[in-house]
């Protein structure tokens, strides 16, 4: 008996659902949704900042190619996340209408789509830009899918703390695309996003705790309670704010950035303090912090781009 025939019974009729694969009704829009376009936009923006503020010259088309590959790589990670998380997505209100739990895209299709995009984005970035950036992109996709989605997310309340690293890599990839190397400055950008992630997500988790509990995701408010989460939000914000200001005293950027970082950081601290003082079931302060945290990160990187990178970009376009 051969190895192939040993485990299979080829005479047994297949179940109806296995024998007849329903032709797909998935639209292009469903596949775009799989790529998490809103997350992708933040990834592209932070990668653009890393790419723009890095020293050295980069042809604008090479820069465009790098950003395109990073965007597609982020989309691949999103698709693979939705493939793996289809079961919990179906249970949570926020994610129940995603294409896989809705049945518009089959899990296998989402997996194939994600793997194809991941392969193409990494290889194209390597061939057309450089292999350090490609390696970092590959590691980011791996980290988000294997380490965060498949392992940490369902096993520890520290899931988004460690998993947040995946979202913090894009500025480093952008920097590596320009320079072919890494230094302290992109690591600082990494740290800003890394320490921004817990207050951002825990603020959301505070008013979505029931959703996470129903899905069995051990988010901090579900496991350790709201009071502990509120304290940890404040602690992480206390680390985040000095890190946000750090590029100014370190001489990486000017006083305008320093002032914006200080003022917006003070608002972050104030909102975190309000979250600490707030008592359940009130959730207004948590919603305010979640909303402002997005603006905070955008402000820091936008000012950095204008202060440091924009002139560089214009100079590069001129040459």
């Amino acid at each position: 008996m051969s190895l192939i025939s040993e485990g299979a019974d080829f005479h047994r009729p297949l179940p109806a659902h296995a024998a007849i694969a329903e032709p797909s009704l998935a639209t292009v829009g469903d596949y775009i949704t799989l790529m998490k376009p809103r997350v992708m936009s933040l990834v592209v923006f932070t990668a653009l900042v890393g790419l723009a503020i890095a020293p050295g010259s980069l042809h604008p088309f090479t820069g465009f190619t790098a950003l395109l590959c990073i965007a597609v790589g982020a989309g691949a990670a999103g698709a693979l996340n939705m493939w793996y998380d289809a079961d919990v997505d179906a249970v949570m209100t926020r994610t129940a209408r995603r294409p896989v739990p809705m049945g518009r895209v089959q899990p296998g299709e989402a997996l194939a789509f994600g793997l194809t995009l991941a392969g193409f984005s990494v290889v194209t970035l390597g061939l057309l830009v450089n292999w350090l950036a490609a390696g970092l992109l590959a590691f980011t996709i791996f980290f988000y899918v294997a380490v965060y989605t498949a392992w940490l997310k369902r096993s520890t309340p520290q899931n988004i703390v460690i998993g947040g690293a995946a979202g913090a890599f894009p500025p480093m990839i952008g920097w590596a695309a320009t320079t072919g190397s890494l230094s302290l400055e992109p690591v600082l950008l990494f740290l800003i996003i890394f320490f921004w992630t817990p207050p951002h997500f825990w603020a959301l988790a505070l008013y979505r705790a029931d959703d996470y509990a129903r899905a069995g995701i051990p988010m901090l408010p579900v496991v350790n309670g709201a009071a502990n989460t509120r304290t940890q939000i404040l602690l992480y914000t206390l680390i985040l704010v000095p890190l946000g200001i750090a590029p100014w005293p370190l001489g990486y950027t000017g006083a305008v950035y320093g002032m914006v970082a200080a003022v917006s950081g003070a608002i972050m601290l104030m909102l975190s303090w309000q979250v600490l003082r707030e008592r359940a079931p009130a959730e207004r302060a948590s919603r305010n912090l979640f909303a402002f945290s997005i603006l905070y990160l955008f402000l820091l990187f936008a000012v950095l781009l204008v202060d440091r990178g924009w002139g560089g970009l214009i100079a590069r376009l001129a040459t």
Binding site: P23, L25, A26, T27, V28, Y31, H59, T124
Partner: protein, 70 residues
């Protein structure tokens, strides 16, 4: 056995006199055809972008494009 369209937009089993012959195989509904067409166009566009990307980058990098550290 071949499959024919059903009014709900799903593929159904069974063949009537006026429906396609057994050999026609899977018959897609209009909605499925539209979805497939839009997906095919998107794949074609993505491939075209990839070709243009490699073509322009070859011009940008110039003759040294094949000279790279391993």
């Amino acid at each position: 056995m071949g499959r024919a369209n059903c009014p709900t937009g799903h593929v159904s089993m069974g063949v009537t006199m006026s429906e396609p012959h057994d050999d026609d195989g899977i018959v897609l509904t209009e909605a499925q055809k539209r979805a497939r067409r839009s997906r095919s166009i998107a794949i074609a566009l993505a491939l075209a972008v990839l070709v243009i990307l490699f073509y322009v980058m070859t011009l940008v990098k110039g003759p040294g494009v094949l000279v790279r550290p391993i």
